[in-house]
């Protein structure tokens, strides 16, 4: 988020009160963005304090309690082996948030490095890298993620890897575009004149300055990444039972939908709210940064 604070100076051309941080001012004016922030804080709170918010164990089997409907004891009911669904959702929040953030940060990092290298050196290497990225982008993303995850073997790590792979090209393009502009800047040319090695220029001068569009894209992508992880989980290509991952829970729960409606419904609701929170915030940020929207 620290990259965020660098941006307001450049967009504070609008008439906003001088005493208030313009970025925060604009966010506050948009009720939907605030709501997104609220959703996210609730989920963050739930994931951090999961053990305090529930007295059940997310993986402990209790056959006598199987398929108990929502009640005062089990707020969201229990699943086919009597585990408390509310508790599993709380612990699942840790997993979903962690995985979503890890995937986009990983993809952002790798993509930025590749994009900076591609843009800095240019020439044949740049051509090769960009054509490769075009090819990855030529696949419908979920279909490619499915193919990669299926090939690597169905587990959470491979699902994360598959999603990172489909996310990388966007960051490569962003970082490359920034690098092309930075390469012409005086401070980079000066560094070249001083005989500083290219990898050092890229690491110390290019990447730190190319980061802010990447950071913005990262915040926009987290919601999507959480959904993709859950979708792979639902298709049996992500986290495997008994891990309390939301997608994996729905993957088993939907078979019981007609008799025990609460089983797939609540994990899905959690997933929806998390992704909604990120998307609302992302939408707000996009709005603030998009000069066309400020008309």
């Amino acid at each position: 988020m620290s990259g965020m604070t660098a941006k307001p100076e450049s967009i504070s051309t609008m008439a906003t009160p001088k005493t208030v941080n313009p970025f925060w001012y604009k966010i506050r004016r948009n009720p939907l963005t605030l709501f997104g922030l609220f959703l996210l804080l609730v989920i963050l709170f739930a994931s951090l304090f999961a053990p305090l918010l529930s007295s059940y164990d997310p993986t402990k089997i209790n056959i006598t309690q199987r398929f108990a409907p929502p009640s005062a004891e089990h707020w969201f009911g229990t699943d086919e082996v009597g585990r408390d669904i509310y508790t599993r959702i709380l612990y699942g929040a840790r997993l979903s948030l962690g995985v979503g953030v890890a995937v986009v940060f990983g993809a952002g990092l790798v993509g930025t490095v590749i994009g900076a290298i591609s843009g800095y050196f240019g020439g044949k290497l740049d051509q090769l890298i960009m054509r490769l990225m075009d090819i990855v982008l030529a696949f419908p993303s979920l279909v490619l993620a499915m193919a990669v995850a299926a090939t690597l073997g169905p587990n959470l790590q491979n699902a994360m890897l598959a999603i990172a792979i489909i996310k990388i090209p966007v960051y490569v393009r962003l970082a490359r575009a920034e690098t092309l502009a930075l390469r012409e800047k005086l401070f980079v040319k000066a560094a070249v004149t001083f005989g500083i090695k290219p990898w050092r220029i890229i690491a110390r001068h290019i990447i730190p300055n190319a980061l802010s569009p990447v950071v913005i894209q990262v915040t926009l992508d987290i919601g999507d990444a959480i959904l993709l992880v859950a979708t792979l989980g639902f298709l049996g290509l992500g986290a495997q039972p008994p891990t309390p991952e939301w997608g994996a829970m729905i993957s088993i729960g939907w078979k019981y939908l007609l008799d025990y409606w609460w089983y797939p419904t609540f994990p899905g609701l959690a997933l929806f709210l998390a992704s909604c929170g990120f998307n609302l915030i992302g939408d707000g940020i996009r709005d603030i940064l998009d000069p066309k929207a400020n008309r």
Binding site: I135, V136, G268, F272
Partner: protein
């Protein structure tokens, strides 16, 4: 125009080559030993070698790729491990169902999405706009599998209005196959019973799939309408006393639709991805359900055949979208 087409076509060949490289790499190089997977762990060394020879796995990798490409060009994706049928035959069998579902969803998304987008733009920053915005964000935030489940719960279990699975009731004979699209075939043959029944089955899956697309259409229409409405020719038109629907539809919408076509066309890819999930939820007998079942069997020829066909379709759609774009916007005819 011609130059552009030639350039795009050469790019297309390159991308398709890349697609084959990736699918080949994924299906032949990564999964350890496909021969071992086919014969199972208990098979003898001789059987393994024999299968390996049959599959051409004893050849160098580039020879394997060449053979794979030869097969692809001849429409041979290999045999499915699960169904024991040629993958091509399987895909052809399941393709029309997927197409029917995707097209219907596409139409729903456009018919509902464009008006909402226009409304949001015209009533910018009002309750309408916020509602439209929330609706579209809800659309992209809702996992397709979850909205499908909620749809089944509400419209099948609670109200018993719509069926929860399949393309047509078992008691209704499906229309004779012309295109394989039930709606079209039954309409052409005047088979109203089949038409009504398959439409009834199509509503829930298509609406589920359309919901996520709606968001994309709405947002794009809103953004480009806002941009167009701020332009001088609109102000001139307003000054000349043109207003209301004429201004909106004749003057503004036409120009706003150009970027919309691009975005919506590109989003067809996510529609295809979404179809995989939707078909699974609604037991819709299409390619998506086929590939999910193949995944459970680690049936790589089927998975890669599907990936190749979908990506191929996606690349072609993108090309068509680009060409429409050039055709529609006289300003880009360099």
């Amino acid at each position: 125009m011609r130059q552009i087409i030639v350039k795009r076509l050469s790019m297309l060949v390159l991308v398709l080559l890349g697609v084959t490289l990736i699918t080949f790499f994924l299906s032949h190089v990564i999964p350890g030993d496909p021969a071992r997977m086919m014969v199972g762990q208990r098979a003898s060394e001789e059987t393994l070698q024999e299968v390996r020879r049959q599959l051409g796995l004893d050849q160098p990798v580039w020879v394997q790729y060449f053979t794979y490409m030869q097969g692809l060009l001849a429409g041979d994706f290999g045999d499915s491990i699960r169904t024991q049928q040629p993958v091509v035959d399987d895909l052809i069998k399941f393709f029309p169902a997927t197409l029917e579902l995707a097209l219907t969803a596409f139409v729903i998304a456009i018919v509902i999405g464009i008006p909402i987008g226009i409304l949001s733009a015209v009533k910018k920053d009002t309750g309408w706009d916020h509602a439209g915005r929330f609706f579209s964000i809800a659309g992209i935030s809702t996992p397709v599998f979850w909205s499908g489940l909620i749809g089944i719960l509400v419209f099948y279990k609670f109200f018993d209005l719509l069926p929860s699975s399949g393309r047509i009731d078992l008691t209704v004979p499906p229309p004779p196959t012309i295109t394989g699209l039930f709606l079209f075939d039954s309409l052409v043959t005047g088979n109203w019973a089949a038409f009504g029944n398959s439409l009834w089955h199509l509503v829930l899956p298509a609406a589920t799939l359309a919901f996520a697309q709606l968001a994309i259409v709405t947002r794009q229409v809103r953004a480009s309408m806002l941009e167009v409405l701020g332009q001088e020719y609109i102000r001139t038109a307003l000054a000349n006393g043109i207003h209301g629907p004429v201004l909106l539809f004749r003057y503004a919408l036409r120009n706003a639709l150009i970027p919309t076509i691009t975005v919506v066309g590109l989003s067809f890819g996510s529609l295809l991805g979404g179809a995989v999930v939707t078909e699974t939820i609604f037991s819709w007998p299409g390619m998506g359900k086929y590939v999910v079942e193949s995944i459970a069997f680690l049936d790589f020829p089927a998975i890669m055949g599907f990936t190749f066909v979908i990506s191929f379709g996606y690349v072609i759609i993108n090309l068509l979208v680009d060409l429409t774009y050039y055709a529609l916007d006289p300003q880009i005819k360099e």
